[in-house]
Amino acid sequence: MRASGIFDKTYQKDIAIVRSWQHWMLLLGTIAFLFTIPLFASYYFINLLSNIFVTVIVVLGLQIVTGYAGQISFGQPAFMAVGAFCSAVLTLKFGFSFWLALPLSGIAAGVVGIIGGAPSLRIKGFYLAMATIAIFYVTMWVITHLKITGLAQGLSPPPPKIGNFVFDTDERMYYIIMIATLILTFFARNLVRSRMGRIFVAIRDNDLAAEVMGINLYYYKLLAFFISCFYAGIAGSLLGHWYMLVNAEQFTLLHALTYIGMIIIGGLGSIPGAYFGVIFLKLLDELMLFSSPFLVDMFPWLGMGSAASLSLMAFGLVLILFLIYEPRGLARRWEIFKTSYRLYPFRYGEQ
């Protein structure tokens, strides 16, 4: 819904993502803000932001395969692990530079993802969900039992560097993560409104009908898995080089459930939804982390070290409430807000 008086006079304007100068200002302002954050923000805040951005990359991938193409995947952490271990092995054992290992680990995760997505050709819905859980466990088992990936201890990949400049602090790593997120977001935003994105939506809404209309289901389902796992691989690689540590404990089934929860809360089938979901849940986590000492003071029977379980409970509760009251997530609330803001004195924009 456009505000009154704004028309698209040219084709270029019609297909533009960024439409008005206010929009441009907002976008550039946000990017400039993101670049200047490390100048004044605290160490804690930068860490949180990097964490959010890495998760956003994974969730964007999941949004493409689940939100747009409709193929539910619980395997995302396993593909992250593939990316993380691949990039660690490439930099440590083969002496590749990080800048080459990053895209390669994305591609490696994507290829594993194609194998992982193969069951989607025959089954769908929760059958596919179970198959991806199985793939998750099998992949993680293979990773923890190979010599080259350091068995159960994992590996410690070196930080990335350009010339003599080493990205070994959280502030420096933040820039790499943030720029990667921006690029991947831009790619995802464009992908879902291209021909390919529309095909994904057609497959999600009714795959038989899509096939009848001449869409090659096999190709596009596997492509969706490839793209989503590419994202996961990139995120895994970034995570590994940021923490300078990769092991299997960082990639559990609970993470997979969390990512699915994030896209439900954010809104299935929406790129801003991925951001909303991740930010909402990460902030909820932080809130629980801060409030748990008070909660423990009030209810001593909770015991120390309950923050993680409490935030898990809060997450489950929020997810239940969202599924009952707003199954289309925060993205829909955001759309409603935008429409009513643009049409302000009038009310008929609300759906």
Partner: protein
């Protein structure tokens, strides 16, 4: 040969428990077409409640068992009433997601209570073992197996021969037809959740006598899902057979391959089997193949 027999016996005994977990998921699916991940938590909480009553509060065995069953059925009732019922009329997939939201919520509660520790029952099942020419059969597990087999039998018979069982079968067949014949489909959903919560908690107690109550206990629910998928989501008998096969396969492959490949085969074998089933026979051994139309 002794090795093989030993692995198979333990596998079969564990498999009996798997079938019981599987069937709790199957009956919910049969009635309401909802696939539940949350049963792993029902199982874990059953074990936990029993521990709280018996060890924490020191009640006698029969009383704590009874109280556990009451709490478990309350859990089943609340889950159906407050999380499943509001979703009636929405796509089935959101019910599936709801069960996994429940899983996360209950997982938090479970971890909160356990706080990283392991809780063990005092020995209330017969201890010791029989020795058949080198093949060792632990008595406690035999009791577990017999109990789960007995429950299985009761369940199957009550489905066949009681009025509620008939209503449940009618509901499984067709919701609208059942409703027009005077079956209250809503009540049936509630009954089904309560029954499956009770069965899940019993299987949880039985499981915990073998493994103790520790963190990964809820993930046995996923084993139950594998069993349900393997046997066919609609088939109670299929769940029995699939549970036994899964137990056998897990233990035999773990017994022979673990020394070679270095551990963890038990879980992977189950998942590899699941993948193969889903690829070869997606609707399980006795499930109904669904025909899709535009």
């Amino acid at each position: 040969m002794t090795d093989f027999l030993q692995f198979s016996v333990i596998g079969l005994l564990t498999g009996g428990l798997y079938s019981l977990i599987g069937v709790t998921i199957v009956i919910v699916f049969k009635a309401s077409k909802v696939v539940s991940i949350a049963h792993g938590q029902l199982l874990a909480f059953g074990a936990l409640f029993f521990w709280i009553f018996m060890v924490g509060l020191g009640y006698p065995l029969w009383l704590s068992f009874l109280l556990t069953l009451i709490l478990a059925s309350l859990m089943g009732f609340f889950i159906e009433r407050f999380t499943m019922r509001p979703l009636i009329g929405q796509p089935l997939f959101s019910s599936f997601l709801m069960t996994f939201a429940l899983f996360i919520f209950l997982d938090g509660a479970f971890q909160l209570y356990l706080a990283g520790q392991t809780r063990a029952y005092p020995h209330f099942l017969p201890q010791g073992q029989w020795d058949f020419g080198g093949v060792i059969v632990p008595k406690g597990q035999v009791v577990n197996f017999l109990i789960s087999f007995f429950l299985f039998l009761i369940l199957a018979l009550s489905f066949k021969h009681t009025r509620v069982g008939l209503k449940m079968r009618a509901t499984a067949e067709d919701h609208r037809l059942a409703q027009s014949a005077g079956v209250s489909v809503r009540n049936i959903f509630t009954y089904v959740w309560i029954i499956s919560a009770i069965l899940a908690s019993i299987s949880g107690i039985a499981m915990a006598t073998v493994t103790d109550i520790h963190y990964p206990l809820p993930y046995f629910g996923i084993k139950g899902l594998i069993v349900a998928l393997f046997g066919g989501m609609e088939s109670i008998g299929g769940a029995l057979l699939a549970g036994l096969i899964l137990g056998l396969l897990e233990n035999i492959s773990a017994g022979y391959l673990d020394p070679i490949l270095g551990g963890g085969i038990k879980d992977v074998a189950a998942y590899v089997m699941l993948l193969l089933i889903l690829l070869i026979k997606p609707y399980g051994l006795f499930g109904l193949a669904r025909i899709e139309r535009l």
